[in-house]
């Protein structure tokens, strides 16, 4: 428990450290008001359109696939830690096959995704863009 107290202390100190630094900076820094400074950076032009728009859902799918594998990793870890003891208890082979089934099921999923293109980032086929098509 005490160990986690240390971690909590580290986390809180991380926040405090930033606040302290920013406070020092705000004391040391000069402030010169100018409206243009507070405009958003868009390469020197006035920003057009909004950044807060409906975004491409590919990011969502990546997160979804990630989550599945994340859960898998989380479930492998306790098994891996316990493997030594399970071997010592004579359950090693059983544990191996049990885990194999679990992982192979997921590898099947990965393979399915792979074949169906679920692992592809939204990527245009640069060899078949519109302007190239009519020549082919």
């Amino acid at each position: 428990m005490e160990q986690y107290g240390v971690i909590l202390a580290f986390f809180i100190f991380g926040l405090v450290f930033v606040v302290a630094n920013l406070t020092i900076a705000s004391i040391l820094s000069k402030k010169i008001k100018s409206q243009q400074k507070f405009e958003l950076y868009e390469c020197g032009e006035v920003a057009e359109g909004d950044a807060w728009i409906r975004f491409n859902n590919r990011f969502y799918l990546i997160a979804l696939v990630f989550l599945v594998f994340d859960v898998e990793v989380v479930m492998i870890y306790p098994w891996a830690v316990a493997l030594n003891e399970m071997i010592a208890e004579g359950n090693g082979v059983f544990a191996f096959w049990a885990m194999s089934v679990f992982v192979v099921i997921l590898i099947l999923g990965l393979a399915y995704d792979w074949i169906k293109g679920g692992l592809e980032w939204v990527k245009p086929n640069l060899l078949q863009l519109d302007y190239l098509k009519k020549d082919a």
Binding site: Q3, Y4, G5, V6, I7, A9, F10, F11, I12, F13, G14, L15, F17, V18, V19, N21, L22, A25, S26, L28, S29, K30, K37, F38, E39, L40, Y41, E42, C43, A47, A51, W52, F59, I62, A63, V65, F66, F69, D70, V73, I76, Y77, A80, V81, A82, L83, N84, E85, I87, V93, A95, F96, M99, S100, V103, W114, L119, E120, W121, K123
Partner: protein
């Protein structure tokens, strides 16, 4: 009760010192290394003397000859920069984001096994803890990119998030092999398992555990190490995986709108993350605080352990910089392909190999 507070005070102090030194030294090294690789000199002018003069308001003489105080001077400069929050930004989240990113990174320092008796929080799930807490920083980056209401920032943070979560998988799987060998998640336990000569390091297989037959695992462990190393490069957004802040495409990625000290905090957190990423590689694959030669270990020379550990980490950091200044940048789809179609299958393969080795061979 006093004991724990004293411990927290000591370790916090040490780790704050470490993170600052790591930041300053890494930035200096990065400049010098890149300069030497590119046939130029890098920072040459700013020495400690000129820095002192500058602070005292005296005439600044060019006293340094190798620019040792350059990073410090930059830090001082950043402290004096105006803090600008754009009008269009979501101010609360904009301010919160650097804190989250830094606190997330700094928390990982709590489980760094610098020496056998100097692990701030020697929790029994240490490895798992570091993996878990580093995913916390992801949300900070997303927050930074979204709140600044900047298109480059948003694109950068989305790329960054997708990249960091994806590469958590190969990193996680590649480390399972080591957990299987050592049977513990404690950082201390994993490092202690590699005591003695350097062939006991996990990079060279499982010699430390099972004698010569452990060499069978050498290729597996090398693959694991490479997969982990690539993964940690990607998780820390380093070249060739620096697409989230690719300056030629996204200007500066998620911290485009950040100025002054807030920007410096991101920078510090980034270098801290690089240090932690490589420190884990050292602890898990390269024998941690053991020098690899029993004669110069902590048993004989007290106090050498943290030095050995930090030195090894900096060797890896050098490799990271070397890679950055050598390789071009990947595109976002190629990055995902590398992760899902190469690293994950390879690490799953090594996972099975080590499992078979554990269950059927030894």
């Amino acid at each position: 009760m006093d004991n724990i507070f004293l411990w927290i005070a000591i370790t916090l102090g040490a780790m704050v010192g470490l993170v600052s030194v790591v930041g300053i030294v890494s930035i200096y090294l990065e400049r010098k290394i890149s300069a030497f690789m590119q046939d130029r000199l890098g920072p040459m002018e700013v020495g400690f003397g000129s820095l002192v003069n500058a602070i005292a308001g005296k005439e600044v003489l060019r006293e340094g000859r190798i620019g040792l105080a350059q990073s410090l001077a930059d830090g001082l400069k950043l402290l004096q920069k105006e803090d600008i929050i754009p009008d269009g930004a979501d101010k609360f989240l904009f301010k919160l984001a650097p804190m989250i990113v830094f606190a997330g990174t700094f928390s990982t320092f709590a489980a760094l096994p610098l020496a056998e008796y100097f692990i701030p929080a020697d929790v029994n799930i240490g490895l798992f803890y570091i993996l878990a807490i580093s995913s916390f920083g992801v949300s900070g980056i997303l927050m930074a990119g979204w709140s600044s209401n900047n298109k480059w920032g948003l694109l950068g943070s989305l790329r960054s998030t997708a990249q960091m979560v994806s590469y958590e998988i190969p990193v996680g799987v590649s480390l399972v092999s080591i957990v299987m060998l050592t049977g513990t998640l404690s950082m201390k336990g994993i490092v202690v398992a590699q005591e003695g000569w350097f062939w006991n390091w996990h990079l060279f297989g499982a010699v430390g555990h099972h004698g010569l037959i452990g060499f069978v695992l050498l290729p597996m462990m090398v693959i694991n190490f490479i997969a982990y190393f690539i993964g940690s490069l990607a998780e820390t957004n380093r070249a060739p995986f620096d697409i989230p802040e690719a300056e030629s495409e996204l200007v500066a990625g998620y911290h485009t709108e950040y100025t002054g000290m807030r920007f410096a905090i991101f920078f510090l957190a980034e270098y801290g993350a690089i240090f932690v990423g490589n420190a884990i590689a050292v602890a898990l694959f390269l024998g941690g605080w053991y020098s690899g030669i029993p004669a110069i270990d902590q048993a004989n020379i007290p106090g050498i352990a943290p030095l050995v550990f930090i030195l090894k980490t900096f060797v890896l950091i050098f490799v990271v910089m070397w890679i950055r200044w050598t390789l071009p940048r990947l595109r976002v789809d190629q990055l995902m392909t590398l992760c899902w179609k190469y690293l994950i299958p390879f690490t799953l393969f090594t996972f099975f190999s080590v499992a078979i080795y554990k269950v059927f061979i030894v």
